[in-house]
Symmetry: C2
DNA sequence: CTGAAAGCGCTTACAG
DNA sequence: CTGAAAGCGCTTACAG
């Protein structure tokens, strides 16, 4: 009831209240509270009077009004085109989100999670859904697939955004923080070849997201570097079609090393690991196995670790950079992060 | 460049643009777009004209302006007084967040994660930090400890909020969705006693959060119901002070059953489990063990499971209920959810 | 050094 | 059935 304490007064104090209390204009209050903007000089007496009144009234700026009037509200959006986020507890995306949260906190930004955006249904991601992101100063997007039209529209309107994951759509105009799957995958294959393997198979999903095609590129590059034939290396397969017979057939054909990609669903790597087991084989004694990305189904598998947390942090930093750069001179920043190799226990010399 | 497509036009369309295109006033546009508010009747011709223009311009309402002018923007806040959220990947709070996200999506609400609020430092949770929550229509709070003043202030200003976890501060005026630890803990002890145990110890943290005191209450109630002495049952201990000697001492004294609380840090249960192991004992052969809440260190332990995901969902529902109820007639809703018992493998008959 | 005024994009009485 | 006007709480030229 005592508005002097700011408690129970029913209505939070606004600048006009401070102005009345301090006997100055609301403009002056705004100026004082905004700190020292260049070119503006306030008498110390006024400053103190305003500050004291603000303190007494328990003033805190209204973030909504601030956002409407200026163009910053220190809120960053997070919008996903992937399913299973963040509902899936063991989800692929959670570590990324953790990184996003950490860096956002470090930079004094709050996060807006746009919900109901997890459906794989691209029709849900229309302009209406996506324009919600404009409450924020800028937005992070992710998911294996991207609806180009709404992103193009946001980009065209000068809204700062950063994609998490490499993207080459829209003539390379999409800023992103991604992962260098090409190099990491190539290094894994190099290692296999150094162990003497000459006949290998790369099992991948039948899905052309950049993270999949980049892994394939890395694998094939390495195979070529070794002077080996690439023809039969790549095998596209659904997780449901991966069984012991597939693995058995490969062995018959003299294959000694298997490589599999670990993506956001994780189902393919899991299926292969199960199939190897079901075929009564063990790694690396019977067969070497490499997983491109760490699989929860076999964490000790050899391969590499996707720097998901760092990816989140990096994306936030790039986004804030954009936000704080004048729209005219924003370069389209595209960055790839290196992966940490995992020695693991599933790669060994060629058996026999 | 063609503003008719809404692409590349530089500036998103607003109601004024639609008004100009349709040859009506901006008010009319607002009215049409708001749907049929009672008492307002628009001619079908006008409606169609406005709708078509809006479609053509790719209009999407600006949530910030909407929020400032009205009082809803379909954003819910999440603010935590606990540390390790959501940074800790195996965090206690993540399943709650998942529930929050699910229900928010179901109810068409976006989520604002207030960051930098995870510090245990209560001084950070001042009015300024907390008033940020007012960008949203209402806010969820959690954490074992609560700074009363800012919450009192928000409550007093009529801002809808729901605490996640039982709270009795502020004369019971804090709405919450909590967990019925009393009943769940009592049931666990009942089970121990039914197995013949007569001498038990309840190990708890030295921290008086409601979730801890409620567990203790449940334990002691059950002990009393069985007509056993309560004197030595409760033991307060830091995780660092729990070792094999403590467990050994209890056995010497004839204790046959141990109960430990699993809280957000999880350190105490983990320490006890390690201590039992280090003492060369196994459960339930040498000793029965119950964990009040599932411990990641021993998921198969007997006890109960805190319905964290459901807790999140429930809290969102209560919050939205509040938001959609006129400020005058909002009851202070306080709900407790039941826990799911875990049979587990660590409770057995009294040895020997 | 300070204030009056316009404006951010909406909603909501209030008039016609 | 529709429009002119005020207002939400700020920021930002623009005058003095």
């Amino acid at each position: 009831m005592d508005s002097g304490t700011g408690r129970g007064s029913g209505r939070p104090a606004r600048q006009a209240d401070i102005a009345a209390a301090a006997g100055v204009s609301q403009t002056t209050v705004s100026l004082v509270l905004a700190g020292n903007r260049d070119g503006v000089r306030l008498s110390e007496t006024t400053r103190q009077r305003v500050l004291k009144a603000a303190e007494k009234l328990g003033y805190v700026p209204d973030p909504v009004a601030t956002r409407l009037a200026s163009s910053r509200n220190h809120m960053l959006g997070v919008y996903t085109f992937a399913s299973a986020f963040p509902t899936d507890v063991d989800g692929f995306y959670y570590p990324i989100l953790v990184g996003v949260e950490e860096e956002a906190a470090a930079l004094g930004q709050d996060l807006v999670l746009f919900t109901g955006t997890g459906g794989a249904d691209a029709r849900a991601h229309d302009r209406t859904a996506i324009r919600r992101t404009r409450v924020t100063d800028g937005c992070l997007f992710f998911g294996r697939h991207i609806p180009e039209e709404p992103i193009d529209w946001l980009l065209g309107s000068g809204f700062p955004l950063v994609y998490i994951g490499r993207r080459d759509e829209l003539d390379g105009r999409i800023p992103f923080a991604g992962v260098d799957y090409v190099t990491a995958s190539g290094a894994v294959v190099d290692r296999l070849i150094a162990q003497g393997h000459r006949s290998l198979r790369y099992l991948r999903e039948n899905d052309d997201a950049p993270s999949s095609t980049d892994r394939e590129t890395g694998v094939l590059d390495a195979v070529r570097r070794a002077g080996l034939p690439t023809a039969k290396v790549v095998v596209r397969r659904e997780a449901d079609d991966v069984g012991p017979d597939l693995v058995g057939g490969w062995r018959q054909a003299g294959v000694t090393a298997l490589i599999v990609e670990e993506t956001d669903t994780g189902s393919l790597a899991k299926a292969l690991i199960a199939a190897i087991d079901a075929a009564g084989l063990s790694c690396p004694d019977d067969l070497s196995l490499a997983v491109l990305g760490r699989s929860p189904a076999l964490p000790e598998a050899s391969g590499f670790e996707v720097p998901r947390r760092e990816l989140g942090r990096r994306a936030v930093r790039l986004l804030v950079d954009q936000i704080t750069t004048a729209p005219g001179k924003r370069p389209t920043v595209q960055e790839l992060l290196p992966c940490r190799p995992i020695t693991g226990t599933t790669i060994g010399p060629v058996p026999g």
